[in-house]
Structures are given as structure tokens and as C-alpha cells.
């Protein structure tokens, strides 16, 4: 059975673990570098990006994960996870994983009273609209070559993207019962293991 890690420094990691388990894969929390062993992919959940980033640096997870990402390790980052994966974060000198060629803006929609939910058409997930929950969410300001935008708000603002085996969303698929985004991530994980049998 595939084993997926969910980064558990802080945030909604239990929700991702539950979603992945509903899809029939083994999902485990990851807090230390030793826990990467045997994982076929990783989810970086929503939470506070400053908190998660700081704890990742303190426990040497940034270097470990960068190394794996450079070898094609699949990662899904939601909200804070997207911020941590982005090459550039507007208005904040945060050391991130600098993996996905996008520029994101934190708290782009405003404070909590401006948080919202909306149904979005996401072509890679098929015909039905996807319930997208945005909580003090970032958005994508700039997209580099080789990055595919997967979802946009009605005004055209990009809010989900893919670059190779890396998947980012500004919204929280783990807060809904719709498992299609996690399923899409697992299809990337499965494609990767076919291409690269080394999962150690």
C-alpha cells in the first residue's frame, strides 16, 4: 500500500490524513526527518506558514525536503503549504522550499471576515464544480514557465497550480468531503512511482 506523509508541525494535518485514509492509502504524520523513510509523497497542510516554516527550519526538514523534491518527490501544498512551496512570497522574507515557480501573496483577500467559500470549475477534476474554501488565503500573483494553472477565481486570479509532481492550492480541499483533489494528487504519486521505483 502507498504511504503518504502529512507534515504535522502545525495546522490541519489530521484532516488531510483522514481524507487520504478515506481514499484507501496509508497516511502518517511527519514531524522529523527520519519519518520521511518509505514515503511516496507528502502533503503540507494549511496552518500558519510562519509557524510551520520556522519549525521546519528548526528541525532540518527544509533541506531534507528540498533534496527529495529535486529528485521528483510528489508534494501537495494547501494554503500555507502553497506559500512554503512557492519560489517567491510577496511582502515577506521567508525562507521557503522555493520549489514551485510562482509568486504568491499571503493573506491576499484580507482578514478572517473576508474568508469565503465558492464553487470552482477545475477541469482536471472533471465536470462537477469543486467546493473551494479560502481561509485568510493567499493567491498566485505570477506564474513561471512550466507551471500549469489548474483553477482560477471568476475574475481570473489563479488559485491552484501544478509544476511536475508538485501541486499547490490556495484553498482547502481537506475541509470538504469532496476527495477529488486528493485523488488527483494520488494519481501523480502513482505516476511517479511507475517512473521511479525508488521510494526509500
Amino acid at each position: 500500500m502507498k504511504k503518504i506523509g502529512v507534515l504535522a508541525m502545525q495546522g490541519a494535518f489530521a484532516e488531510h490524513i483522514a481524507a487520504l485514509r478515506r481514499l484507501g492509502v496509508e497516511a502518517v504524520p511527519v514531524r522529523l526527518t527520519g519519518e520521511f523513510k518509505g514515503l511516496s509523497g507528502l502533503v503540507i497542510p494549511g496552518g500558519e506558514s510562519t509557524t510551520i516554516g520556522k519549525l521546519m527550519r528548526d528541525y532540518s526538514l527544509v533541506d531534507e525536503l528540498k533534496k527529495r523534491i529535486s529528485k521528483g518527490f510528489p508534494v501537495l501544498g494547501t494554503c500555507a503549504g502553497m506559500i512554503l512551496l512557492a519560489k517567491e512570497v510577496q511582502g515577506l522574507n521567508q525562507h521557503t522550499l522555493e520549489a514551485v515557480d510562482i509568486r504568491v501573496k499571503r493573506n491576499a483577500f484580507g482578514r478572517q471576515v473576508d474568508s469565503f467559500e465558492i464553487c470552482l470549475d477545475i477541469p482536471v477534476l472533471g465536470g462537477l464544480p469543486f467546493p473551494a474554501v479560502f481561509i485568510r488565503a493567499p493567491w498566485i500573483e505570477k506564474v513561471g514557465d512550466g507551471v500549469e494553472v489548474l483553477a482560477k477565481l471568476p475574475d481570473g486570479t489563479p488559485v491552484a497550480a501544478r509544476q511536475g509532481n508538485l501541486l499547490v492550492t490556495a484553498f482547502h480541499p481537506e475541509l470538504t468531503t469532496d476527495l477529488r483533489f486528493h485523488d488527483y494528487f494520488l494519481s501523480i504519486v502513482n505516476g511517479n512511482s511507475k517512473a521511479n521505483s525508488d521510494e526509500a
Partner: protein, 300 residues
């Protein structure tokens, strides 16, 4: 700020409880100045609570404790990018309206301030901003959720640096959750009557075995081990009130409590982060506090 979101729905239950879910596994720290807020953020706090005085000072000052001056709250909002919470008095829905208009991210309808209404809490469903409320047991938690609280915390006994009341309240909630989960359906109405809790929520807990919202520990957390204790007892995260800025080295204490909350199951890490962080805040034995000065019994 309206860009992109104009077709979305704001202030929904999913959006309100969702922010609480994003705070899980984190530490929310009481701060009274922009400078303290920056220290908290740099230490890894997942949110700050903007106050005029920390609970230990409120306890010492006596008199009527009210919502903080908007100037204090706004200065803190400008200084950090993490969520900013603020407290209003129990039942004081106008203080809550003011806090919502200031754009605070979460309102704590708190027993630490002097209650404004001795029968009623705020009806929280009508607000777009989410609320967190204190509880001592499951009945109180479900009453607050029924009124619209999107997050719950134990009351503990704020400003004492003594974890005993937070432990009592967390154990009470967890014991009742287990009991309710194992009951048969025909026992639920009688149990709802005993708990003084809405029947629909009692039924929901019976089904899931969990609270319908996130539950943090609060009221007495003073050390990294205190934080990890509450996490192991089942808390989703931790509020630290006086415990940071009444300790001898707030910066080190804040960082250590953040790490102990993440690695709460790892005693070796808790030991490591507890080294050389200075003295915890001075503590108070609950038995020495006159009954009229206890904060936890406030709330109905």
C-alpha cells in the same frame, strides 16, 4: 480587498470553524503591545490574543475588566501577519460588534473579563467573525457551540500559572465525550437534560465521539511540559496567557512552548527545549484564591 472573492460566500460555518482548524497544533499567545506580538510571531505562535493586560495583571488589578482599547488592538494588528484575536466580555455583544468592525480574526467571549450579562452569552451565529468560548465540561461546551462558538477552549484558571484547573476541565470534557459515544440512542435525551446541552449536538457527539469544533487548552499553561500535557490529554492546541510574558525570558519560553506543542509525544524533545529557558511565571495555589475571585465559574 474584494478582488476575486466577490462571488464567494463569507462568514459561513465552514469558513469560521475552518480557521480554528488551521490553528490546530499551535500556540496562541496573549500579547499587550506590538513589540510583544512580534516576539510571539517570531517564536512561532499561530495567533496572538490582543489584550490591555495579561490575566495575571487583570487578577492583581481587580475592578472591572473590559475589552481592550481599539488603539492597542490596531497597533498589534499592524505589527504581525498571523491572526489577531481579542476578548470581549461575556454577553457584551456590542464589544463584539466593535471587535468585528476592527477586523479581528477571532473573538474570545471570555470569563477573564468581567461578565456583562449574568444569564446570557452572545448569540454568535449572526456574526461573520468566528468566536471561541471557554468551558469547564461538555455541557458548557455544547451550549456555547449551540450559540455559535466556532471553537472551544478549557477555562482552566487564568493568570495562575497553575495547570490543575485546565487538566480538570479537559478531563471532564474528554470523559463525557467517551461516555456519550458509548451510550445507546434511547439514553441521549436524558443525558442532554443532565448536560444542559442541545439535543442535536448531543446526538452528533454520540455519533462521532468528538466535539464538532476544535478544542484548545487554556488557563494555567506555564511551561513546555504543561503544553504537552494538555496536548496528550486531547487538546487540539494551546492558549498561553500570562505564561509567556510573566516568565523570566519570554522569547525562550515562547519558542520552547511552541516546540513542545508540536512534539508533544516526544519526551526527549520536551526535555531538550526545557533546558535553560529561565524561570516560569510565579504560580498561585487555587486553594488560596478567595471563591469570589475565581474566573472559571463565570459563564452559564
Amino acid at each position: 480587498m474584494e478582488k476575486g472573492a466577490e462571488k464567494g460566500e463569507k462568514g459561513t460555518w465552514t469558513v469560521k470553524t475552518g480557521l480554528a482548524q488551521m490553528l490546530k497544533g499551535g500556540v496562541i499567545m496573549d500579547v499587550t503591545t506590538a513589540e510583544h506580538a512580534k516576539i510571539a510571531e517570531a517564536a512561532g505562535a499561530c495567533a496572538v490574543m490582543a489584550l490591555e493586560r495579561v490575566p495575571a495583571d487583570i487578577r492583581a488589578a481587580g475592578g472591572v475588566a473590559r475589552m481592550a482599547d481599539p488603539v492597542v488592538i490596531q497597533a498589534i494588528q499592524k505589527s504581525v501577519t498571523i491572526p489577531v484575536m481579542a476578548k470581549c466580555r461575556i454577553g457584551h455583544f456590542v464589544e463584539a460588534q466593535v471587535l468585528e468592525s476592527l477586523g479581528v480574526d477571532f473573538i474570545d467571549e471570555s470569563e477573564v473579563l468581567t461578565p456583562a450579562d449574568e444569564s446570557h452569552h452572545i448569540y454568535k451565529h449572526t456574526f461573520k467573525v468566528p468566536f471561541v468560548c471557554g468551558c469547564r465540561d461538555l455541557g458548557e461546551a455544547l451550549r456555547r457551540i449551540g450559540e455559535g462558538a466556532a471553537m472551544i477552549r478549557t477555562k482552566g484558571e487564568a493568570g495562575t500559572g497553575n495547570i490543575v484547573e485546565a487538566v480538570r476541565h479537559m478531563r471532564a470534557v474528554m470523559d463525557s465525550l467517551r461516555k456519550l459515544h458509548s451510550m445507546s440512542a434511547d439514553e441521549l435525551m436524558a443525558e442532554a437534560k443532565v448536560l444542559g446541552a442541545p439535543f442535536e449536538l448531543v446526538q452528533e457527539v454520540h455519533k462521532t465521539g468528538k466535539l464538532p469544533v476544535v478544542n484548545f487548552a487554556a488557563g494555567g499553561v506555564a511551561t513546555p511540559a504543561d503544553a504537552a500535557l494538555m496536548m496528550q490529554l486531547g487538546a487540539d492546541g494551546v492558549f498561553v496567557g500570562s505564561g509567556i510574558f510573566k516568565s523570566s525570558n519570554p522569547e525562550l519560553m515562547a519558542k520552547a512552548i511552541v516546540k513542545a506543542t508540536t512534539h508533544y509525544k516526544d519526551p526527549a524533545i520536551i526535555a531538550e527545549v526545557s533546558k535553560g529557558i529561565g524561570a516560569a511565571m510565579p504560580g498561585l495555589d487555587i486553594k488560596t484564591i478567595p471563591e469570589g475571585e475565581l474566573l472559571a465559574p463565570r459563564g452559564w
